[in-house]
Symmetry: C2
Subunit: 332 residues, 2 copies
């Protein structure tokens, strides 16, 4: 089943079911007006939503054309956004840039940070910055939306709580990351609104692409129309999503509608940019710069500047599974 | 105007208006079913809520008895909970315990951290812990709930966005604070659910107690029925609430319903526990322990253990302005 949230002028938007081929949609309003409402009573609403999705796919309901440009983030505001660090090669590569510590590299337990969730950006919303010199970067990630998880949850409980999957762009102001890390209070100023792809899909809806609590698909990133990276999200993910949920629930419960990011998708390799057509590349600029520093003695790839664009999507059979995030940088 | 959220079995509870003397309440459901709904359209709903509050106070509406034990947190789940550090003496006193850095003590800009807001505890909810050896502490704070604030807001805009005021208990697991600070990703495991007093009051409803973006009232804390502290929240607050909002909005906008804590209330003095009837004391255990270490060479006051209780309330004329937080520690 595929769901999206359309802009209706209200803060939470309007829930729709999207056809398997992403061309059509139908309002889910008579079942649940918003995605959060659906998640609050998932066991009640999911069967009805699934039945409606089947009718839409069978053509029993005509629906209306699905316009990704009218989509908000699936949860335009959420009660929780936690970002994890599933990919150790990301941490290793950004380590020198971020002024972070050895403790970050421990592979025994994943690092997590509490992100701001009060305004999550639409897939085509511009990235607004007030200062062009803050080393603006994107981070392409896989994210899951979960049901309620009790404190001290087991891995099985964590896995069973995964309701929906999508991709997101964890926008980062690298120049401020160092300050945020040094005061020890976590990322605050360095992480403006995270943006999300228009569509969320149930694990079942992803077929064999979703297994072992990982999305086994390449996440394709283009900067200004040029391929920047296409690392596979199922490869080199040291901590899977159930591991991340277990860690997040160590000292507290997690409410339904919590969004959890898997960290910047990152595969181990030593290629540098520009990558070949079948190369792997990177899902953030900071990693590319680190590899360049090691190889050439200096970073070549610039951070994003006003009017640059970034496109992010998870690809299967040449198609963007969750629809694309496509954002332009705008100086506010 | 005074508002509260009563438990109706749903995640967001039911909004009520509470009489000035806190004895009666009336449903606000025909205006806005939940506090978040009221905040989403505050300019529309606030006048109607104010009119209903006036009728309740005048006796034109009988209402029903207000039972604080039936209250949830005013926002039982919120889109954002940011905790600031308005009181420098708190930072100075906890510094040695937390393994934190000199940068923390800079008085030029307040520190902030992004807290979990997916489940905020009711005023009488137990504090559930799974491990009795994590150095459980309370932190009595003043908190404000704000309307939408644009990125780069001025101090005047920030001040005007303050909709409601209350007190909260920022529960802390001190043993985990060190780990969280050292990995640099911020407080995650060290901060389970924050609890809130049952009642929120508009700045106007606080009269002269609210001025200069500060609450000028003592916040009284009792542990196991014994006075622990009563520092005045308006004294020694180096960064006021408008300063904290301006800092929070430096690189991003803040959505309506964002809750912002002022940090552990802390006054400069060198008293140690037990305090006299008119003493000042502390709004968290960590500060008391630091003063004891300096005075006696070792900390005497233990952290909270199962079956301990903590009571927190802001006092005016011998009355608890927002109602009390009263929590018992329970080993889950």
């Amino acid at each position: 089943m595929k769901l999206a949230t359309l802009n209706n002028g209200r803060p939470d938007g309007h829930l729709v079911i999207v056809s398997s081929d992403l061309t059509r949609c139908v309002s889910a309003g008579r079942i649940a007006p918003t995605l959060q409402a659906a998640l609050d009573d998932w066991s009640v609403h999911a069967p009805a939503l699934t039945a409606l999705a089947a009718q839409l796919d069978a053509g029993a309901i005509a629906g209306q054309p699905f316009d990704p440009a009218a989509a908000l983030a699936p949860l335009p505001r959420a009660y929780q956004w936690i970002d994890g660090s599933g990919y150790l090669s990301h941490l290793e590569r950004v380590r020198s840039l971020k002024g972070s510590k050895d403790a970050e590299l421990q592979s025994g337990r994943p690092l997590l940070y509490q992100g701001g969730s009060d305004s999550l950006s639409a897939p085509t919303a511009p990235i607004r910055i007030t200062d062009p010199d803050l080393a603006l970067d994107f981070e392409a990630e896989v994210a899951v939306i979960i049901g309620a998880v009790p404190m001290g949850a087991t891995k099985a409980q964590a896995s069973a709580a995964i309701r929906l999957v999508t991709v997101c762009n964890d926008v980062s102001l690298r120049r401020l990351v160092v300050d945020d890390l040094q005061n020890g209070f976590g990322f605050f100023h360095a992480k403006p609104s995270t943006s999300f792809a228009p569509i969320v899909v149930t694990p079942e809806g992803l077929g064999t692409s979703w297994r072992d609590n990982r999305l086994h698909l390449p996440v394709r990133v283009e900067v200004n129309g040029t391929l920047f990276g296409q690392p596979n999200a199922g490869t080199d993910m040291h901590f899977d999503f159930a591991d991340l949920i277990v860690e997040a629930a160590r000292t507290r419960s997690l409410a339904s509608g919590t969004i959890l990011g898997g960290g910047t998708v990152s595969n181990r390799h030593d290629e540098s940019l520009p990558i070949k057509k079948d190369g792997i590349g990177f899902a953030c600029i900071a990693e590319a710069r680190t590899v360049e520093k090691l190889k050439y003695g200096r970073a070549r790839t610039p951070f994003l500047k006003p009017s640059d664009t970034v496109r992010i999507g998870a690809m299967a059979d040449g198609k963007s599974v969750f629809g694309d995030i496509f954002q332009k940088v705008v100086l506010a």
